[in-house]
Each structure stands twice: as C-alpha cells, then as structure tokens.
Symmetry: C2
Subunit: 323 residues, 2 copies
C-alpha cells in the first residue's frame, strides 16, 4: 500500500511519517501531499493566537478535551481533532518536544486526537509554508478540526493564525500596556475574542476594554463577510470555566461561514497567499542557482564595503540574471 | 540644496521627509537612500526585543535618557540616538502615533534624539525592509546609536532585532510558561539579557532561571564570534534602577565587536539577508506583471475547487513564465 493510501485509511504512523517528510521539505512529502490534495477541504481550520502569558496552551488542551467529550456540541458525534503547535522563536527547540510530551500524556489514548509541535526551520515564510502543508495532511487524513496554535503576537504568527477559517485571539488581564497598544491590529483578525485567566484582578476591566475597542474598531480586510458579531468570552482555562461557551462559539462561527459564503472566501485568500509565497521562494532559489559561483558574495562584500548601494547591487544581480 | 545634502547637514525636516518617502516606498526615497549609502556604516545598531508586558518601551525611554545624560559612559561626549519603534501587529495603527506623542513629550527639546514609530504595511518582509531603510537613513544622518525596538517575540521581530550589531532581549517575572518555553530560541539571538520589573515577586528566580538556561544553551549561529559572555542584568525601568549597567553593557559589547571582527561579520549577514529579500520581492512582482491577465486567479480557483493541487498550480505558473 502506498503512503497516500495508508494515510487515507487513518494510519497514524503513515501520517507521522508524512509530517516528518514535510518538515524536511522532501520530494516524497510534496508528492504525497499532491496525491492527497483532492481529499482535502473538509476540515475546519481554527487559528488560536495570543501573547505569551495568556495561558494559550492550557486553553487549547481544555478545548480539545471539550470537543472530544461525550457531550456533543451539536447533534453530531465528537469531532476528531489535530493540533499544530507553532513555536517560531525556538529554532532548535528542545522546548517544543518537552511540551509535546506533557500534552501527549494529558490526552493519551485518544485516537481522535493528534498533536504535533513545530519549531522554526530557517527564515520567514518557511514556517507558514510548513504549517500549511501540515494542515493539508491532517485535513486529508480525515481530522474534522485542525487547531493551529501560535505563540506570540508578531506578524508571522498573525498571518498563520488568520489563514484559518476561524481565528480565536486570547488575551489575559494584567499584561501591560503593550498588549493594549496591540489591540487595534489584533481586532482585525479576531473572529472570537477570549479573556483568559478571568479569575485574576482586572479581568472585568480587560473584558470591558476589549468590548469597547470592538465597537470602535474599523472592520479589517479579513472580517468579510459582514454579519458576524465578534463575541468576547471569559474563560479560566485552569478550571475549565467558560470552555463550553468557547467551543460553542467556534461551532457557531463555522455555521455562519458555511451559510454566508465566508468559508470559500477565506479558503481563496489562503490559497492565494500560499501560492504567492511558494512562487517567490521558487523564483529566488532558481535565480540564485543560475548565478555565477561567488557572484552574490562579491556583491554583498561591495555593499558591506560601501562601494555599492544595496539597490545598485540588486540591479547588478538582475542584469546578470537577464543574460 | 538636494534632499541628500540637507540630510547630511543634519536637517531634521529633510530626514523626516525621507522617512515618509521610504515608508511609502517611493522612487525618490529609494534614490536618496542610494545617494546616502556611502555615508552609512558608522552607527551602532541596537535591537531591543521582548514579549508584551516586559516594560520594553519604558526601558527604551530610560536608556535613551541615560545615553543623552551629561555623565558620559566613556570619555566621549553623549551620543545622538535614533529610535525606531516597530509595531507590526498594528496595521492601521492609531496606537503607534499616540505612543509617539507621549514619548516625544518625554524627550522633547533634545535635538540629539529622534523617535519614529512604524506600523506594518502589507505583508511579511515589508516591515523588515522598511526598518532596514530607516536604519540606513538615521545612520547617514549621523546618529551614533540607532535603537530598533520590536514588540512581541515572533519570528519577524526576532529577525529584525537580530539584524542589529547588539541585540538586547528583555524578560520580566511572572509572564507564564510560554515565555519559559521561548527561552531556548531567545537565547540564541541575545547578546545581553535583561530581567526588567525586578521589583516584582519572582524576579530573583527569573534571573537565576535565565542564567542557568544560558549555561545549558547551545550557542546559536548569530553568537559569532566566540569570547562574549552574555550578561544577565536586572532593571526596574520605572525607577531607573540598573539602567546604567545596561548602557555600559551595550558599550562593552560594541567594543567587543569592534575588537573581535564581529562588527563586520554581523554587517555581512544583514546585507546578505536584505539583498535576498529584496531580490525575492522583485522577482515575484516581475513574474506576476508578465502573467496573462486573470491567469493567477484562474489557477487559484482551480486549487480552491480541488481540481488542481497547489504544487501543480505552481508548476503551471512556472511553465507560463517560461514562454
């Protein structure tokens, strides 16, 4: 049986192998993903993002347990759940692996759950690209929900999280004024807002501030289509308080997207962004391969020595490429 | 007099105009920057990064005041200081402008200080590119120190901060386990570590944890050359405690880089990264311009409809480009 067939039949070892191939950016990984592609498009992609200190990982664990519990949210049976934990600031991460083990133990023995951490390899773009590939793999393997958890509130993480169908942004009381300053940007990607650690002092105020900011905010480009009112929810992940409401809000947003046509619109943005990134990455690699050996380094040295401006170096490179 | 000449003579209005041109990515901005380029290479670029809630902005303000004070750190006179405050999660930011005003008032009337906030325009890469251009402009305008302050701990911010000569990473007690998990990655870019808010409970422990992690950490690619021992400093930015030590550590690192050859090595990495990004961005734009109208959208739709795998769409685009 091929790797593709095994994955489609729910073979977890085969899936794990594909994920490794994708992380290594192997040719077999890319080919398998291509074969699997017609079987994708069913999973609900849920981005969960928030600054460090918001209790994001605990919340995600609680949420997974809620989705997997015997009490269904709708009339349907419990959905299977894959979690991609993106930790971009840990390039050679021992941290991610340790985190994985702790989580694995917590949710062990449930065949409907698959958790995979991912640390950054290389530079900008690589992480988003691998996250996209992982998402497709889980989708094809039949997981109903794919949770993409990103640490931090930087542009790369925001991009990754906002490529999902549903984006949940987590806040917590007492994180200082930086977080306040970030609100404007965060509101533009949030479909659901959560104030976690609601048992801490200042929680009520954090909630009201967010609700007010929500009313003042201009709707951003990703909030299409109109008609969704962004809920601001209170949770205490450590006790499980409010998790039911959050799980329900995610399911409500799914139904809204399906009924309003937003599901397809978001998919299109995701495909477009990914194709553009892959194209840029290919064009750069191809261009560099065709350059005369040492040419790039010579130009870099000339720029470092102030003999050439960066733009002049770029133009020189492009003239070379034309020949 | 040309804009270039005015900037070289220290005309602040001319500098402000160039920054706006660079943010708008205008042709005149790019040309002026090219003319200014031979006059760059003197400034000490200092990246300051840390998660929200670490008190970064207050610390940067204190640091600027310390550098500008009448008590010199070395025998030299007080250096002039430019600050670039990068706030990537605020795409349509009113926040950045408000922050600017508060800071301006605080450091008003000092001609040796220039503060400029920058919000994200567009997608990945643009921010790093504009930050690089701003840095060059301040360098050419004769600022001795350029502080690049980034919010968050995501990949993009890490990339921006670590493109400096000296990277200061700020931590604070009580930010939760996410921050702990991020330590591994952060250590690889830090030249100087700071535990701010040292008056809070748990500060001593945070300091010791960092010191221990430092001993366990593998040196990352950017820690070249060998011989620098990363100091872990305690500060209370609100009172100014420890700021002297931090300013001194930054100056020590500068001397170390100059003496060890690390100064040039870091410059080369920065130029290389920037040239590669600019090249990728140009190649993509050029490729898209030469495509038949509507071709990209058609392929995107085929991928969304699962008639074509993303890789097959990429190959189809590349075949088009060859013709």
């Amino acid at each position: 049986m091929t790797l593709t067939e095994r994955i489609l039949q729910g073979d977890r070892l085969a899936l794990a192998r594909l994920l490794s191939e994708l992380e290594d950016q192997s040719t077999q990984g890319a080919e398998t993903l291509g074969d699997l592609y017609p079987h994708t498009g069913k999973a609900h992609l849920i981005g969960i993002t928030g600054a460090p200190g918001t209790g994001k990982s605990t919340l995600v664990n609680r949420l997974v347990k809620r989705f997997r519990s015997n009490t269904p949210l709708n009339s349907s049976p419990a959905p299977s759940v894959a979690v991609i934990a993106v930790d971009p600031s840990s390039p050679f991460s021992g941290g991610a692996i340790l985190g994985d083990r702790i989580r694995m133990r917590d949710l062990a023995g449930d065949a409907g759950v698959f958790i995979r951490s991912m640390a950054s390899r290389g530079k900008l773009g690589g992480l988003a690209s691998t996250t996209g590939a992982f998402t497709m793999a889980f989708d094809a393997a039949g997981f109903d929900l794919v949770l993409i958890e990103t640490v931090g509130a930087g542009q790369a993480e925001v991009d990754i999280a906002s490529s999902a169908h549903t984006t949940v942004v987590i806040d917590a009381p007492g994180l200082g004024d930086d977080v306040q300053a970030n609100k404007a940007g965060i509101l533009e990607i949030a479909d659901i807002m959560v104030v976690n650690k609601f048992d801490l002092p200042g929680a009520e105020r954090a909630l009201r501030t967010l609700e007010m900011a929500m009313h003042l905010a201009q709707p951003g480009p990703s909030t299409l289509p109109a008609g969704w009112e962004i809920p601001v929810l209170a949770t205490v992940a450590t006790t499980g308080e409010g998790i039911d409401n959050l799980a329900q809000a995610i399911m409500n947003h799914r139904r809204f997207l399906k009924e309003s046509g937003g599901w397809g619109a978001r998919e299109q943005i995701r495909v477009e962004t990914q194709l553009r990134q892959d194209l840029a990455s290919f064009l750069l690699g191809d261009f560099m391969d065709r350059l005369v050996e040492g040419r790039f380094d010579t130009l870099v040295k000339a720029v470092v020595d102030r003999q050439l401006a960066p733009l002049a170096a770029l133009e020189a490179l492009l003239r070379d490429g034309d020949q």
